[in-house]
């Protein structure tokens, strides 16, 4: 679908807020059409990375290429290629769900904004609530609307910052299905999450951000190989990603 093997290419990314260093040289890449999960504890800098990659924040140094465009040099082209669902739901509560989607379609300069809205409402199961103000939606419905707004226009690279935080298990699985469907259609997805199970379920590649750097990244299998099962006696126990995560984070903290 894209000319580039890696839809996202991050090299030596650094960022400090005032004098607090947050990113100390972050490197990773995301294959076009794959799902990439960024894991990290609270305050590790996940949102900071997402904001830099979506042109909302300027890095101090390092380079970021999205779909072949440099975020610092060609932010407009980058914005043409991406779509963001931020950590906190950003829907217009005074407008209805449908109006929110039509607005997005018009801002993306699509030809049939009402049809686009109708299709997305159906796809995210919001048809019944389409003409109610978003203020009356439940948390899960708001998040679905929020994600639907990011799907308008079919950007080739999608960023989801903790898309399932605060959702019940059923709603979470719905979001997972949407993400899988996107990736199935060739969309590149970068998501951050606190839920290790989510990364395990969804991601082709997992990266763990800790103390300003990506300390490990790879497929789930590769991560499992780094940390062989603790005991091989009578039963063979595969470590869960949670154990891997805690082992790494705990280890590095002690140094």
């Amino acid at each position: 679908m894209s000319r580039y093997e890696n839809a996202i290419l991050v090299k030596g990314l650094t960022k400090s807020y005032k004098h607090v260093p947050v990113l100390l040289g972050v490197d990773f890449q995301v294959k076009t059409g794959s799902i990439f999960a960024l894991l990290g504890t609270n305050g590790s800098g996940k949102t900071t990375i997402v904001k830099i990659l979506t042109t909302l924040l300027k890095q101090d140094s390092g380079s970021v290429m999205i779909n072949g465009f440099d975020v610092a040099m060609n932010p407009e082209q980058v914005r043409q290629s991406i779509s963001l669902t931020g950590q906190f739901v950003a829907v217009d509560e005074i407008l209805t769900g449908r109006e929110n989607l039509v607005m997005m379609a018009k801002l993306r300069h699509l030809r049939a904004p009402h049809q686009v809205a109708e299709d997305l409402l159906k796809r995210l199961g919001l048809t019944a609530a389409a003409d109610r103000r978003a203020a009356t939606y439940s948390g899960g419905m708001r998040r679905r609307l929020d994600i639907a707004m990011s799907l308008v226009g079919g950007a080739p690279v999608i960023f989801l910052d903790e898309p399932t935080t605060g959702l019940d298990p059923e709603a979470r699985i719905e979001v997972w299905n949407i993400v899988r469907e996107l990736s199935g259609n060739g969309t590149t997805v970068l998501l951050t999450t606190q839920y290790l199970e989510e990364a395990e379920q969804l991601a082709d590649t997992i990266a763990i951000l800790h103390k300003g750097k990506i300390i490990v990244s790879g497929t789930l299998e590769e991560l499992k190989m780094l940390f062989p099962p603790a005991k091989v006696e009578y039963i063979e126990k595969q470590p869960t990603l949670e154990e891997i995560f805690l082992a790494i984070v705990g280890e590095k903290t002690e140094i």
Partner: protein, 255 residues
């Protein structure tokens, strides 16, 4: 870049459509903005008016320009508030990660302020007519009055935009309205400045509201307009340009 420039008007009208929906769905803002100045007009004309010597036989005629400016000054707190909410809810972040003309979102709010003020000022003039306001001004004078009022609205709305974008709390966002409320009170809006003690008078005669009020009053009563109209225009345009530049700087930094 070319393509993005061409969409500026489209984007701005989408943004304006959105914030117009906001004001028409909560009519209380327009109603408050309209009723308060009307109540003041009633109070001054029927309670205090008998004791005020302005040198004109019709006090409503004397009062109306100042009342209109008070209505505008009252309304801008709401623009501040709406901008603040958009920043807080992450709506601007969403727009800024999209290929949308940068200042379109702000212009949408500012033009909405213009529309809502046009509505409330029309109602205020109609009430003033019922109360005995008469004007011999011709079409061109009325157009000039409308132009000055529009400029004054734009200037104050951009000032309000600065505070809405930079405020940390909701109270901070609307605080800008308070000092601006005072300007019409210490001006020639209600009584001639010649009746004021010297220090107050010096302030009153050299602040923007007095020259604007005097210019509108001359236009409405078909008197020759002196230099005050140029002073009034200079104030409006000066404040507007300064506030626009400053608001855009704050917006870029914030986003």
């Amino acid at each position: 870049m070319e393509a993005i420039k061409n969409y500026f008007l489209v984007d701005m009208s989408v943004m304006m459509g959105r914030s117009l929906r906001h004001i028409f769905r909560s009519m209380d803002t327009i109603i408050t903005v309209t009723i308060m100045p009307i109540a003041m007009m009633l109070l001054f004309v029927y309670v205090l008016g008998g004791a005020i010597q302005t040198g004109t036989d019709n006090y409503v005629n004397y009062l109306l320009p100042g009342i209109m400016l008070i209505a505008i000054a009252n309304s801008i707190g709401y623009t501040s508030f709406r901008l603040f909410t958009d920043v807080q809810r992450g709506i601007f972040e969403r727009f800024n990660s999209m290929p949308v003309a940068r200042s379109a979102a702000l212009w949408g709010h500012v033009l909405t302020s213009l529309v809502s003020n046009a509505i409330s000022l029309t109602v205020i003039v109609l009430v003033a007519l019922l109360m005995g306001f008469r004007s011999s001004a011709g079409v061109f004078s009325w157009l000039a009055v409308a132009g000055i009022l529009a400029l004054f609205t734009l200037a104050l709305t951009w000032v309000a935009a600065i505070s809405g974008l930079s405020a940390k709390t909701i109270d901070g966002a609307s605080a800008i309205a308070y000092p601006i409320h005072f300007l019409p009170l210490i001006s020639s809006a209600f009584v001639p400045t010649s009746t004021m003690p010297r220090g107050v008078r010096a302030f009153a005669e050299n602040q923007p509201v007095t020259s604007i009020v005097d210019a509108i009053r001359s236009l409405l009563s078909n008197q020759p307009v002196g230099s005050e109209i140029w002073v009034a225009l200079a104030w409006c345009v000066g404040i507007m340009i300064w506030a626009y530049i400053f608001a855009m700087i704050v917006y870029r930094k914030r986003a």
